[in-house]
Symmetry: C2
Subunit: 174 residues, 2 copies
């Protein structure tokens, strides 16, 4: 599927509502348990998505669009949220994420990058030259990957409760 | 995590709204493409969830709770939806799923199985004796697995658009 800005926006706009529908009001047994040592709970994943809104996606888009002399991105700290969200409620995180996402998409829509701008590049700290289009497509797939992760982590909480069905649900073995 | 009927209901009740938040109004480029030959699109997955509501979960729960002489379940036809939903819109399917789910959960809440009833068994056509608790836990994990699947199938549509990021998103390699 070729990248299309409206297709991308359609998914990015929906993510806060998907997370609310999935998680709001659920017991911490669902929202605060993970898949094992050094893995994330649904709560942690929402924190990570907030970090992306605050420090990653639009910051990098701005660097690309500005086309300044130094177009290297800051490395994205994938563990920042683990320190800053302790003691917060999941509702606070969901609200924060929704607010940041709306603001970021307003900015992106105002910039409204056309075909030529989507081909402009920045410099990823690990793998070098990337286009704005690749960045925005990754933002979309990253959202979807984390929705899948949250669902998987929740499903795994019932692994033992399933009895013989456990072997038949692929989501439990990923 | 031990099985708890209220925890299970909390997830089962949310699934229709999660699917609506994720899929309503999206282009068919997102909703009608799959992961390759003999795989399902998000549209197909919603069709499969409808089949579960119509022919599987509560039918089996009733067989267990009735404790009649023959407690064998009908095999679940995992491909029924591929024939019956052709020509329907995704909105029709989402509405149908939500309606069936509400009805089924009303029935389950009215039955309100207690500890002893959750231990009653039926006969699965493939793997034999299963309890009501295992059936209900599987219903929950099955929902979550299919939410993860829909997100993964959508993410994969952008596999090529991601450029070098493709290697870094685990959801694209499942």
């Amino acid at each position: 599927m070729d990248f299309d800005l409206n297709d991308a926006l359609a998914v990015l706009e929906r993510t806060p509502a998907v997370l609310r529908a999935l998680l709001t009001g659920l017991s911490e047994r669902w929202t605060h348990r993970n898949e094992g040592p050094a893995t994330w709970s649904p709560f942690d994943v929402v924190g990570h998505l907030i970090d992306g809104e605050e420090t990653d996606w639009m910051g990098r888009a701005r660097i690309i669009l500005a086309q300044g002399p130094d177009r290297r991105f800051e490395p994205f700290d994938r563990f920042r949220h683990l320190g800053v969200n302790e003691g917060k409620s999941l509702e606070q995180l969901l609200d924060r994420f929704a607010e940041l996402r709306v603001r970021n998409l307003e900015e992106l829509k105002a910039l409204n990058p056309g075909r030529q701008q989507l081909r402009l590049t920045g410099e990823h700290p690990e793998f070098g030259s990337v286009t704005l289009e690749q960045l925005l497509a990754t933002w979309v797939a990253h959202d979807l990957g984390h929705i899948a992760q949250i669902s998987r982590v929740m499903a795994k909480q019932y692994r033992e409760a399933l009895g013989p069905w456990e072997a038949y649900l692929p989501v439990l073995h990923r």
